[in-house]
Symmetry: C2
Subunit: 105 residues, 2 copies
């Protein structure tokens, strides 16, 4: 995902509770829903001891719209009630980016 800077990133860092029933289905569903939103640019995700999901957006208004999406609000509620022990959300302006890709010999 390469986009003209500046654009915006939402860094979501979480630790899961012991109850993760329904979590991965919801995560997949939310990823698909995010992709349909205005201003969506992409997403990166990894999970080991903690989970990190970064979504990228054209503008801050796009982030606010996604935050207030009704289906997403339900997912957020379930996340706080059930799936997460803790999370942090950081709203960031992406000012510069660099990319490296190994050349095939």
């Amino acid at each position: 995902m390469i986009s003209p800077q500046p654009y915006y990133a939402v860094i979501f860092i979480s630790t899961q509770s012991e109850n993760t029933i329904g979590y991965s289905e919801m995560a997949t569903q939310m990823e698909h829903l995010a992709q349909q939103q205005a201003g969506y640019l992409g997403m990166d995700h990894a999970r080991s001891a903690i989970g990190i999901t970064i979504s990228y957006w054209k503008t801050e208004a796009d982030i606010l719209n996604w935050k207030n999406n009704l289906e997403h609000l339900k997912a957020q509620h379930l996340g706080k009630k059930t799936w997460y022990n803790s999370y942090s959300i950081r709203i960031c302006k992406v000012e510069r980016e660099y990319h490296f890709k190994r050349h095939e010999d």
Copy 2:
């Protein structure tokens, strides 16, 4: 890690090559070295299909100093030569943050 906003985040996203000999020792060493640098605020890391490491810094100058640290330059060189198939680096200004922590019942 909670810090007065704005501060800065470096989002490092990578895919590894098949040769990861020496990688995890170097990653540990670089984490310790980063902690000793001026302006260092914290780090988050997860790896599954991709690796995501986010380091947090007080100022952009702190990021530049860390980028140009001699030991770190050696690690960057080895990373490009050996350990990574690809990576992306994004320099971001953290504008807002929210935290959730489950209350123990």
